[in-house]
């Protein structure tokens, strides 16, 4: 069995403890009992920090007590698609996708452009028109697609997608379900984690 890419434990008063373990190189669907637990997990992975009542290990490394540089290095290997999506409203789709990589100079822009074009074509969108649009001109699926492409641009070893189908209609959810194949095609060794609430159906 491969080493764990993600291990998370949360202890709360009056609630059953939450424990998540995701082996590296796999795709896992994590169903959490409530929104609070979900927010804790996503927040901890997103910030690579954990509170007093939680424990988080990424790629076998506990995040507690990490120095800023170590935290930064770890952060570079992680991509998170949150429900809020976190798009910058005055940047078009392409600028949103490439901003992080362009700012840090981590990936060549040409490679990001190629990844975005290929992924958009395979997901049924016309790249040139799509990439020029602002987030406010997009429907929820398209915004999620931009956030997903931004995640892909990072080429993360661990991708965490929170509430993939939330806010989408049936047809959009079906399209969003293809994100998994897109990620896997580009990161065959990567770990993909879908986070949802227990009572919800993952698309």
């Amino acid at each position: 069995m491969s080493a764990l890419a993600l291990r998370y434990d949360l202890k709360r008063d009056g609630h059953a403890p939450v424990s998540v373990a995701v082996p590296g190189g796999t795709t896992q669907r994590v169903r959490l009992p409530d929104t609070e637990a979900r927010n804790h997990l996503v927040g901890a992975v997103l910030s690579t920090r954990c509170g007093l009542d939680e424990e988080l290990e990424l790629f076998g490394e506990p995040v507690r007590g990490l120095k800023r540089l170590q935290r930064g290095r770890l952060h570079e290997r992680i991509g998170v698609l949150t429900q809020a999506m976190g798009l910058i409203s005055n940047l078009n789709a392409w600028e949103n996708i490439s901003l992080e990589a362009a700012y840090h100079g981590t990936q060549p822009i040409a490679r990001i452009a190629q990844t975005a074009r290929e992924a958009l074509q395979s997901l049924g969108a016309e790249p040139q028109a799509f990439l020029a649009r602002l987030p406010d001109e997009m429907d929820p699926f398209e915004r999620k697609l931009v956030a997903f492409l931004r995640l892909l641009a990072k080429e993360p070893a661990l991708a965490l997608i929170d509430g993939l189908g939330e806010g989408l209609n049936r047809e959009q959810s079906a399209r969003a379900a293809r994100f998994e194949a897109e990620y896997r095609a580009r990161q065959p060794e990567g770990t993909l984690v879908f986070v949802d609430l227990a009572e919800e159906e993952v698309p």
């Binding site: 997103l46 910030s47 930064g72 952060h75 809020a84 976190g86 798009l87 910058i88 409203s89 005055n90 600028e95 901003l99 992080e100 362009a102 700012y103 840090h104 100079g105």
Partner: protein, 258 residues
């Protein structure tokens, strides 16, 4: 009072932050944002000021000659002292406050309220680097460029249009003007316009990033404060500059040739 002190302290901290973070302009997205800011503040604003600026010079010359019963020489001196040194930079600053100051403060307040500044931090992008530095530097450069443009239009407009309303030829005005003008006049207004741009952008960025409420109501409040305080800052800098340059400290550096 406490709020005012907090704002002064916040403004000073922002000022220090901006200067220390200027090297961030080397990063491609920051540089792009800087160029975009110059385009928005300088280039797009320039089309709207052509008529107003060229009319300004003619108006001042005609008004001076009519009311003060001045001769061509005095009218040209006033064109130089008033338009080139004072009204040009002030007019550009007002255009920048009304167009860019409102836009920058509203944009940043919206970004702060909707959590986009937090998103930037999560991506490892420091909002000061990405949002404040390119705006402040861009507005500075654009304000200086817009000032030069307005000065050129106002002086040229004054010389071209005045012969239609007063008894003076274009050649007469032109010759007299270039007898009087000195490079230090341009340096004075350039330095002043750079300071205006810096103060406007800094004030607007500060209020944009620190709206009084983290709800939509905070946006108009932030814009109002940004615009009001920018205008006050510009007037204070103008008065201070006039005092320092024409007053005791550097008396004689820029002097009126009578």
């Amino acid at each position: 009072m406490i709020r005012a002190l907090r704002e002064v302290e916040g403004g000073l901290r922002l000022l220090m932050n901006v200067w220390l973070r200027v090297p961030a302009l080397r990063r491609a997205p920051v540089r792009e944002s800087f160029l975009r800011q110059i385009y928005f503040t300088g280039v797009t604003a320039s089309t709207g000021v052509v008529l107003r600026a060229s009319g300004l010079g003619a108006l001042i010359i005609a008004f001076t000659m009519q009311v003060l019963d001045a001769d061509t020489s005095l009218a040209v001196k006033i064109l130089l002292w008033v338009v080139l040194r004072e009204v040009g930079p002030l007019a550009a600053a007002m255009v920048v406050i009304l167009r860019t100051g409102t836009a920058v403060s509203a944009e940043l307040a919206m970004m702060r309220i909707s959590g986009q500044t937090d998103t930037l931090r999560r991506m490892g992008i420091e909002p000061y680097d990405y949002l404040v530095v390119p705006r402040v530097m861009g507005v500075m450069v654009a304000t200086a460029a817009l000032t030069c443009y307005i000065q050129f239009l106002a002086v040229a407009g004054g010389m071209i249009l005045s012969p239609f309303v007063i008894q003076a030829s274009f050649t007469e005005l032109y010759t007299r003007f270039f007898d009087l003008v000195a490079p230090v006049d341009f340096a004075y207004s350039l330095l002043k316009s750079l300071m205006f741009g810096f103060a406007i952008a800094l004030t607007c960025c500060y209020h944009g990033l620190n709206p009084p409420a983290l709800s939509l109501n905070g946006v108009p409040q932030a814009v109002t404060r940004a615009v009001t305080q920018s205008a006050i800052a510009v007037l204070v800098i103008n008065a201070l500059f006039a005092y320092l340059v024409f007053g005791v400290l550097f008396f004689g550096l820029v002097k009126a040739v009578v």
